[in-house]
């Protein structure tokens, strides 16, 4: 009796595609062809979105941008595994997820172009807008889950956050509430190995992030985040469990930020080039392409063609977004603060309108 073992726990890793794009036959999920193709297209869309956004940022047509290159499998496969009736609660690096949920590309551009119009996501999409303060959104997801459970709506609520965000107190409080209330949450960590300049190893001393779920009495799974099939299977299972009242899950998706943290960042200052090089062969799009090619679902020139088509669509979306920016009026900053504008704000709104400030296309005021 003196020293007795009370509990024991394990953490494991799920991976289905090997580096050459061959699936483990035992684990390969059977997805309809259309879905597989859609996933591939959405991955290309995300990568192309990055290309265009970074170019526009360089041209001064866009503010700071946080790219997703390298993390396409996590976002797109997770999005594909969820139902439209499920909710998604992103951080600030889930362009792909939101695009795959039906958010317009022009809307996504608008966020990075510095307009709240980039957050005008129709309620019916059940997709919250970006959330900048790390980990704060994880609590919102739990609240949504608790509300859905209360209403007996069989929906899963998936929330996304980075490896860095797991150090915040809100992450802890959120997972604890989710466990206590058995809310239908899927906690999906995009572990891209870095939080700006902080490597995963300096963020926390636990061997995995998945094992953090043990602290809350539920289970965590590490998933190969550059493996579309593994992410899909893991999210699908976790979401089903959530919808069926089985409570929350934590998925640590191992991936890699191939690019900059944001366009204001210079990884050369802190990140060893060798590390980056080691991850390039694990590119999630290349890997999934090999899988689809081998299955005959894709031809070798499809990628180039699709990329070009997507490029055209994005170009149009960017133009549309710029047009919206040009038509913003300064009193908008008052319009949505309260349901009805309070008396004390009216003179302030009048003042802003009275100010004769010339605005140029990119929003710089001269006055």
């Amino acid at each position: 009796m003196p020293r007795r073992i009370l509990e024991s726990f394990e953490v494991s890793n799920l991976s289905i595609l090997d580096p050459e794009g061959r699936a483990d036959p035992q684990l390969e999920p059977s997805l309809p062809t259309a879905k597989l193709k859609q996933i591939f297209e959405d991955m290309l869309l995300l990568r192309e979105f990055d290309v265009r956004a970074i170019a526009m940022q360089r041209q001064g047509r866009m503010g700071t941008y946080a790219p997703s290159t390298g993390q396409e499998a996590v976002q797109i496969a997770a999005g594909a595994a969820l139902n439209p009736t499920d909710w998604v609660v992103p951080s600030f690096r889930e362009q792909g997820l939101l695009l795959s949920r039906g958010v317009k590309a022009s809307t996504m551009f608008l966020f990075f172009m510095g307009s709240e119009e980039g957050n005008r996501l129709p309620r019916k999409l059940r997709s919250l807008p970006y959330c900048v303060p790390c980990a704060t959104q994880v609590l919102h997801a739990v609240g949504i889950g608790m509300a859905a459970k209360l209403k007996k709506d069989p929906v899963a609520v998936a929330t996304f956050f980075g490896d860095g965000a797991t150090s915040e107190g809100d992450f802890h409080e959120a997972l604890n509430f989710a466990a206590v209330y058995q809310s239908p949450n899927v906690f999906l960590c995009q572990n891209n190995q870095w939080a700006i300049s902080t490597p995963r190893s300096a963020q926390t001393r636990s061997a995995t992030l998945a094992q953090k779920a043990i602290a809350y009495g539920f289970s965590g799974l590490q998933v190969d985040g550059n493996d579309v099939l593994a992410v899909y299977s893991a999210v699908d299972a976790a979401a089903k469990r959530a919808r069926e009242g089985g409570g929350p899950s934590l998925l640590e998706c191992m991936t890699y930020r191939l690019g900059v943290h944001t366009t204001s960042d210079d990884p050369g200052r802190y990140r060893p080039a060798t590390e980056l090089e080691a991850w390039i062969p694990k590119d999630p799009i290349d890997r999934f392409e090999k899988y689809l090619l081998a299955k005959g679902l894709l031809q070798s020139d499809d990628r180039a063609r699709l990329t070009a088509e997507i490029g055209d669509r994005l170009k149009a979306a960017a133009t549309e977004a710029e047009e919206i920016c040009r038509n913003l009026t300064p009193d908008e900053m008052f319009t949505y603060m309260y349901a009805d504008i309070p008396d004390f704000l009216r003179p302030q709104r009048e003042e802003v309108l009275a100010q004769s400030i010339a605005i140029d296309g990119d929003g710089r005021a001269h006055g």
Partner: protein, 324 residues
């Protein structure tokens, strides 16, 4: 017709709101089984069940952050902070989300939610149980801030706050939770937020306060006797402030004194003084005076009554202002 204390009026308002709207739910520490440390939620779990009256773990950010999520889903959560002194654990959720969600999403996701918290000193409590920091919330764009001072107002304002489409910080003056009872006919009133109340009309000076300082303020006005005609205004809503009523009163009286227990620097008195500076300077016969808590941390209870504005301090300010 029931006679209710202020805390009973809070309880009644919660009960009525939950009856009329199934989307109203409560969450907070110890609010269910034990009925709240001040008994503000007594009996509600029995009445509405554990799904609608949720005892939570000890985590304020989670309480507010989950309430945000619930409101995004379409519920109308009323979150309790056990004491206002522990709401700072949730301050980032309040500043970064509660105050911003409607605006951020261009109205797509309004946040109809209320955060209730007992505030203020004078109850011989531990440290962090006596603060008055309404200024933090009043300074934050996007919030509404309400502080009742009577049972009937507590009922009418809380019902209004819960029906309000915007997030409301509802601060309850714990010192006067039980200090008087008021008859409240029927279901009681439903107030409009943003309206101050002239609780005593007068001609010579406008005496402004709110919350737990109202009894002190009214006592001081009474002590001045019949020789002086003092108009006393209870702000009730600190944001949006009823500027028109304040300005109209001071344009009439030419003098104003503001009383609050929060620290002086950047307390409500500063805003009201600045407002009167801008809108009523030419009417002023004396400087707007502030009778406030000092710019120190609220002392432990042995000295707290030296910190809180006393009737004597208010009377002194009234005399000084009247004889300026």
């Amino acid at each position: 017709m029931d006679k209710l204390t202020l805390v009973q009026a809070v309880n009644r308002a919660l009960q009525l709101s939950m009856q009329e709207d199934p989307d109203v739910i409560l969450l907070g520490q110890d609010i269910g089984k034990s009925g709240g440390v001040f008994r503000a939620t007594e009996g509600l779990m029995e009445k509405f069940g554990v799904d609608r009256v949720m005892d939570t773990p000890l985590a304020e950010s989670a309480i507010v952050g989950c309430a945000v999520g619930m409101a995004l889903y379409g519920l109308k959560p009323v979150a309790e902070m056990q004491f206002s002194g522990f709401a700072y654990q949730a301050f980032h959720q309040i500043e970064q989300h509660v105050s911003r969600y409607r605006n951020r999403t261009r109205g797509e996701y309004p946040l109809p939610m209320v955060i209730r918290m007992p505030y203020g000193g004078g109850v011989r409590a531990f440290e962090h149980h006596s603060e008055s920091r309404e200024a933090y919330y009043v300074h934050t764009p996007g919030l509404k801030v309400v502080v009742p001072s009577t049972p009937s107002d507590a009922l009418g304002l809380l019902r209004a706050a819960i029906r309000d489409p915007d997030p409301v910080i509802f601060m309850e003056p714990k010192k006067i939770y039980r200090s008087l009872k008021e008859e409240i006919p029927g279901d009681g009133p439903i107030h409009r937020l943003g309206e101050a109340k002239v609780v005593r009309p007068g001609e010579q000076l406008t005496l402004i306060s709110y919350g737990a300082m109202m009894p002190v303020t009214l006592d001081a006005a009474a002590q001045m006797g019949a020789d002086y005609s003092i108009e006393v205004i209870d702000l009730r809503t600190l944001k949006p402030l009823d500027e028109a009523s304040l300005v109209a009163s001071v344009q009439k009286t030419g003098r104003a004194v503001v009383v609050h227990e929060a620290p002086r620097t950047l307390g409500m008195g500063a805003e009201i003084s600045a407002l009167l500076m801008e809108k009523a300077l030419l009417s002023l016969k004396a400087p707007v005076a502030r009778v406030t808590g000092y710019d120190v941390q609220m002392p432990y209870y042995q000295l707290e009554n030296h910190y809180l504005p006393s009737v004597a301090r208010v009377v002194q300010a009234l005399r000084d202002t009247l004889s300026y």
